[in-house]
Amino acid sequence: MIRFDNVSKSYPKQTRPALRDVSLDIAKGEFVFLVGSSGSGKSTFLRLVLREERASHGQVHVLGKDLAKLSNWKVPHMRRQLGTVFQDFRLLPNKTVAENVAFAQEVIGKPRGEIRKAVPQVLELVGLGGKEGRMPGELSGGEQQRVAIARAFVNRPALLIADEPTGNLDPQTSVGIMKLLDRINRTGTTVIMATHDQQIVDQMRKRVIELEQGRLVRDQSRGVYGYQH
């Protein structure tokens, strides 16, 4: 699903590379936590997977494709197989819940009939059945994140990328979101989640990849947030 071969990434005007010689493999259907302090390279890792950046060295394979060889105009097609969720939800404030989710299908040219069927279905799945007509501003943070997850998942991506999805939520709401992500993972969707939330990582007991100053320092199945020193 995802393979990094000796990947390094350095940004211009920065002496220290953001990622240094990272190699790893993530199989289909896995649930992976990406942990590390701020500036450890988590975001760069996710940006490389989304092909918002290209690796400076090494190869990044996503969904069986070498992203270095993927031409620019094919990138949108690749991204349609990825879903993305962010800490700040990134919803459109002037569109209703249903319209926000439908937007993800409209902009890739899905037929209207299909959208009308898929949107209520996925909203039901994330536990927002009946809130189709609400505006994002009227919803709680947890509900807004559920809309974002619904939008990421409505096109049934093979891979869901979540960048600190619980970063703005209280612990109880976060548990609900994690349960939702776990459920999505159980449908066969690979989930990569970058997080700082120690409690969640420790509870879920999933694979943990830790980055530190751009290096891969730990790759542990059924891991916890930090070493017990």
């Binding site: 989304l50 620019n72 105009w73 990138v75 949108p76 097609h77 690749m78 991204r79 349609r80 197989q81 990825l82 993305t84 990134r90 459109l92 937007f103 993800a104 409209e106 902009v107 890739i108 040219g109 209207r112 939008r151 990421a152 096109n155």
Partner: protein, 329 residues
């Protein structure tokens, strides 16, 4: 891609930047009106050229007795009797072309023979001083000057019609300064001055158009940039869910295209209004200057599609280029 969705996005975008949209519309309208205007001006000039060159003659004025007397007397001004109303270019070389006396019948015959032999010449018409006097009386009889002019002051002349009026120099160089020839006048020289003036005006219009066009393009680039910035949230989400670059860019390009098309529409309106109010009615140049053969509506209408197409394509292209920079996909 769904048209309704795209159209509503365009409407939202245009309203969001209403002031900038107006600026784009106005500058596109002005630059395209100048562009169309200078195209029409070019048509007008060539219409006038065709019309007037067709009518003008090269005139070879022959020496009269008066001319001979004047030229024989030392240090005299050039002959007064160059047919009034035309430009009498003094014959080259000899400052006193008629010092050898009035043109003799032999000289006249020689000139006529040679004129008729020239390939360039379409026909030659002899105008005697009596005829010239008669024509002069017809045209200027009511003026004070006409009452003092007498028939023997009017020179005999050959009116020469050329096949290609722009080659008048050939006649001038062949006959000016010849015995018995007072001067060779070419009316098209005056026309040339007029056409040169019109040509300069046309270039000035084109220059202003270029400046307006640059202003319009800069405004479009800026509008697109503002538009892309104010919609970065939408475009960011579009990118994330895998909308194609084209799909993301189309609303912005269409916005610019719609604004440009409205501007081009105004430009067409201005051209039409110019034709209507300046030439046909209002100032009504067509009636007041009947000497000039003005262009008609067919010429104006022929320019409108070009103006509209440029008004549509130029902003779209500018938006497309601007988006490559400001809307990374």
């Amino acid at each position: 891609m769904r048209a309704q969705f795209v159209m509503s996005e365009i409407g939202v975008g245009l309203r969001r930047n209403l002031t900038m949209t107006f600026a784009v519309i106005i500058s596109v309208a002005l630059s395209l009106a100048l562009f169309g205007g200078s195209l029409l001006m070019r048509d007008q000039v060539s219409a006038m050229k065709g019309y007037w060159y067709d009518k003008v003659n090269v005139t070879v004025y022959l020496c009269t007795k008066n001319d001979a007397a004047l030229d024989s007397a030392a240090g005299n001004a050039p002959a007064a009797a160059g047919a009034p109303g035309t430009a009498a270019a003094p014959a080259a070389g000899n400052g006193k072309p008629c010092s050898k006396g009035a043109a003799t019948p032999e000289q006249k015959q020689g000139i006529e023979r040679e004129l008729k032999k020239m390939d360039l010449v379409q026909n030659v018409m002899y105008e005697s001083s009596d005829e010239a006097y008669k024509h002069y009386k017809e045209r200027f009889g009511h003026t004070a000057l006409a009452s003092v002019v007498t028939a023997d002051q009017m020179p005999d002349s050959f009116r020469v019609k050329l096949k290609n009026p722009e080659k008048y120099e050939v006649i001038t160089s062949a006959f000016a300064g010849r015995d018995g020839v007072q001067s060779v006048a070419d009316q098209s020289m005056e026309l040339d001055n007029l056409f040169a003036l019109l040509g300069t005006l046309n270039w000035a219009a084109l220059g202003i158009m270029m400046i307006m066009l640059i202003v319009a393009l800069l405004l479009i680039v800026n509008t697109v940039r503002v538009s892309a910035f104010s919609r970065r949230r939408e475009t960011g989400i579009m990118r994330l869910v895998g909308a194609s670059g084209f799909y993301i860019q189309v609303p912005f390009i269409m916005e610019a295209a719609v604004a440009g098309l409205i501007g081009a529409g105004f430009a067409c309106g201005m051209l039409g209004a110019g034709q209507y109010f300046v030439i046909d009615h209002g100032i009504a140049l067509r009636e007041k200057l009947q000497l000039i053969n003005f262009i008609g509506w067919d010429a104006v209408l022929a320019k409108l599609p070009l103006v509209l197409v440029i008004g549509l394509l130029m902003p779209s292209l500018a938006a497309f280029v601007a988006l490559r920079k400001y809307l990374r996909v």
